[in-house]
């Protein structure tokens, strides 16, 4: 398998953590989003969605969308599990995973920020405040869901990392770039600290990727 990613992409970061946790070794290739490589014909032929990550299987088939890729990895390589066994608990984990994946990251990714500046003439400061607003709105929801909830343990769900943590941790790194005050989110902060003690999370960090830039 070959993962096509970009060191700074939160979506690629999620998948890197999942591969590391499951001990799946893949080849890596890179698509430089800031240089617009996602629009190159050879990449669009692989992934018409023009986003990263994409996972190219040995059969040549291409999987896209980080959550779909992670569910696939869970199905072909179930251990260690990213989802609990019980359907209600699985729904809790998936719901948490969707907060960063659907309700934060897509509203403040590169292409949206570019629209704010280019089409609406917003300043860097205004675009920055926008991003922070949506991160805080999503983190308010995440924190309220996990704080004082019996399902929460050392991690978002129980005492092992799950799909929820894979989606949360890249968003926390992104939040620090936007100067979000993490003291507002003590449960998220505690889960983040526990995740970052694990090599699978640490090794997936953008700064440790072959295509990393200063």
């Amino acid at each position: 398998m070959k993962l096509i990613g970009y060191f700074r992409s939160s979506a690629a970061f999620r998948v890197r953590i999942g591969l590391n946790l499951k001990g799946i070794v893949v080849d890596q290739a890179f698509c430089h989003l800031r240089k617009g490589e996602q629009g190159r014909p050879e990449y669009v032929a692989l992934n018409p969605q023009k986003l990263v990550p994409a996972l190219v299987l040995d059969s040549g088939q291409v999987l896209t969308q980080s959550l779909a890729i992670l569910e696939y990895l869970e199905e072909i390589h179930p251990e260690p599990a990213l989802l609990p066994k019980d359907p209600v608990e699985r729904a809790r984990v998936r719901s948490l995973a969707l907060i960063p994946t659907a309700d934060i990251h897509p509203i403040q990714n590169l292409r949206v920020m570019a629209y704010l500046r280019d089409k609406f003439g917003q300043s860097e400061e205004a675009a920055f405040a926008w991003s922070r607003h949506w991160i805080e709105t999503g983190f308010d929801a995440y924190e309220a869901t996990v704080a004082n909830d019996r399902g929460t343990g050392a991690f978002s769900h129980g005492d092992a990392p799950s799909l929820a943590d894979l989606c949360l941790i890249p968003q926390v790194f992104n939040a620090t770039r936007f100067k979000v005050d993490m003291s507002r989110y003590p449960t998220i902060k505690r889960i983040f600290d526990n995740c970052m003690k694990l090599p699978a999370f640490d090794a997936a960090h953008p700064s440790k990727q072959p295509d990393a830039e200063p």
Copy 2:
């Protein structure tokens, strides 16, 4: 089970189609998003994410996020299936489902449109153009993925409705409100027409809900 929704919510619409397809009858309650009822303490106590839908189980447990709810319904009530059996095919369906769910709808929902008007001082026309832009970007990706692909049949995946269609169809209705030219998307249009022949889709339409407004 009780579904808390709002007639115009695309996310609630997805879940209504899924319940109808599977023949699961639930009680319904309503949360009027335009009146801000999602911020009322009694709703926030149920769903701290302040979004619809929420599915209240007979046990009192509350499930949130439309995709997490639909995966739960698939697990407890597998037939008719919303996902294929093969892991690669499942990934294709989930990836398609995530285009409207993560990459279109969250960027142009009520709260985002309100920010554009209130914080950025954008006109109704500019907010309208924004919405149309993100729908078209997402539909370009969806169309490119399903057109001329062997996996596509009468529906987004094969010849039975899947999770992908449940997410696509509400977005098509939303697109018509934003005057998106659907002739640009012949495969989506064909899938839409096939879906709307099915009573499960038709009965889930916003105009047919108890809380519908003109």
